[in-house]
């Protein structure tokens, strides 16, 4: 279980990186916690590996206007424990607590996890639910992709050859908003059998907005606006079940996944509301 050969490039700047990514069959190496096993098992064999770990300009976690910006090589653990994250977009921290184990989180990057577009990735759901924007550079310039347009299929994004994700910006939500991330996995830290993130806004103890994102059920995170039905478990479930298409695999049947979604949607909305109330001064 050893990787096949690749050409290794360690750019000193974003511009060097995007030039290197122009080469045939190139791949970005960030935290490598998902990519390295693929390489070791020889399921992936890129000819060029562009290691962006030296690009310190991509390590930031900072407020940029109305957004919280997370750079491409910010490690999960840094993000999870960062005060700006906890204060402004706590859902990210709620989700990251489920991502693998602390040791993996020390090296894995939050942005890499989004770029990997794993259907079981908690952060893909967070990005989709918060309508995060994915910032991309290539040798010709930069562009932004809305999360809704970014996740195309299981492990597949709308990222083009030669493009580098430099960071993701999440809109900051004031303390009228509450969130929760809930999932069921076979083992602690495993990929979820099903998971749900919820985002609600509460004004004067009234829920005025309620949205959920479902992950690990289908190929991409699925965002559903549940405002209106959020208080009626039956209607809520009907609405959600009509939109999901879970698969059966060796760990769970499709119907069991439906049951998990049913349970987790209620759990996440309840917790999100509690969270919103708790954030009020």
């Amino acid at each position: 279980m050893k990787p096949s050969r690749f050409q290794y490039v360690r750019p000193r700047s974003i511009s060097e990186a995007v030039v290197a990514l122009q080469r045939h069959n190139s791949k970005v190496l960030a935290g490598g916690q998902s990519l390295t096993p693929l390489l070791s098992m020889r399921l992936a064999a890129p000819e060029v590996l562009v290691d962006i770990n030296g690009l310190t300009e991509l390590s930031g976690i900072e407020l940029r206007g109305p957004d919280l910006w997370i750079g491409a090589i910010a490690r999960h653990q840094e993000v999870l424990t960062h005060h700006l994250v906890k204060t402004h977009v706590p859902m990210i921290a709620q989700a990251l607590a489920y991502v693998a184990h602390p040791v993996i989180r020390n090296r894995g990057t939050s942005v890499g996890s989004i770029a990997h577009a794993d259907p079981a990735g908690e952060l893909t759901a967070v990005a989709a639910l918060l309508e995060a924007r994915i910032h991309v550079s290539d040798h010709q310039g930069t562009r932004e992709i809305l999360a809704a347009d970014f996740f195309v299929g299981p492990l597949e994004s709308s990222l083009q050859h030669g493009e580098l994700v430099t960071g993701v910006s999440f809109p900051v939500l004031d303390n009228t908003w509450g969130s929760s991330c809930q999932e069921v996995a076979r083992r602690h830290g495993d990929y979820a059998l099903a998971g749900v993130c919820a985002l609600v806004q509460v004004l004067d103890h009234q829920m005025v907005s309620a949205k959920i994102a479902i992950f690990s059920v289908g190929g991409t995170p699925l965002v559903i606006d549940v405002m209106g039905v959020h208080g009626d478990p039956e209607q809520l479930n009907l609405k959600v079940q009509a939109q999901i298409e879970p698969d059966t695999d060796i760990h769970a049947t499709a119907d069991y996944r439906r049951q998990l979604v049913k349970t987790l949607v209620v759990r996440a909305l309840t917790e999100a509301r509690v969270h919103a109330e708790s954030r009020r001064p």
């Binding site: 069959n25 020889r42 399921l43 299981p154 994004s157 289908g218 698969d247 060796i250």
Partner: protein, 197 residues
């Protein structure tokens, strides 16, 4: 593993059947199809580049066909191998008239072996369904007059690919069987699973 799926096309079953059996069409529409050539009376070889994101590989496959019942149904038996694994599959395709045009259903019984079979379970069926949908969407677009090459998947291919595609088209055109294309198309769909991990 069993994969069951369906797709709705805007054209008649006869048109879809014809398209699925036209090697020239298939070469344009199968995600990542690079080349195909006849190797026996009912057997064909194909080369396909497939995968997600930049995790891609090139695979060689063989296809045999059976049980053709134009324009309603056909079966293909496909096998292929590449670095990450192997695939063998029997795919039964049915075409029926519908309000939209054609209701296509397929039922694949596939063996995915090698590393991919052992570690790829988590996303195999999701990826295969997605690849199949891409393929049928491309066929639908083709029938609707869109001749741009398999837009969804080909975007990220390097220039050299399309050159090989052209030469491959010539090989394909020389084959006689009308069913070849459909068979290979679905083999391509199946082979596409291989490197998605």
């Amino acid at each position: 593993m069993k994969i069951i799926g369906s797709y709705s096309l805007d054209h008649s079953p006869a048109a879809v059947f014809a398209a699925l059996n036209d090697p020239a069409v298939l070469l344009q529409t199968i995600p990542g199809c690079q080349a195909l050539e006849q190797t026996g009376s009912t057997s064909y070889a194909m080369t396909i580049t497939a995968g997600v994101a930049s995790i891609k590989g090139t695979y060689n496959g063989l296809v045999e066909l059976a049980d053709q019942n134009a324009p309603h149904a056909f079966t293909l038996k496909a096998s292929g191998s590449g670095g990450p694994g192997t695939v063998q599959a029997d795919v039964r395709v049915n075409l029926a008239e519908s309000a939209e045009g054609c209701a296509l259903t397929y039922e694949a019984d596939a063996v995915v072996g090698g590393v991919i079979g052992g570690v790829g379970q988590r996303v195999l069926s999701g990826v295969s369904k997605k690849t199949a949908n891409e393929f049928f969407a491309a066929v639908n677009r083709y029938l609707g007059g869109d001749r741009s090459i398999a837009a969804v998947v080909q975007q990220s291919e390097a220039g050299s690919v399309s050159i090989r595609k052209e030469s491959a088209t010539r090989q394909a055109s020389s084959t006689s069987s009308l069913l070849v294309g459909a068979v290979i198309a679905l083999a391509g769909v199946l082979l596409g699973w291989l490197i998605t991990q």
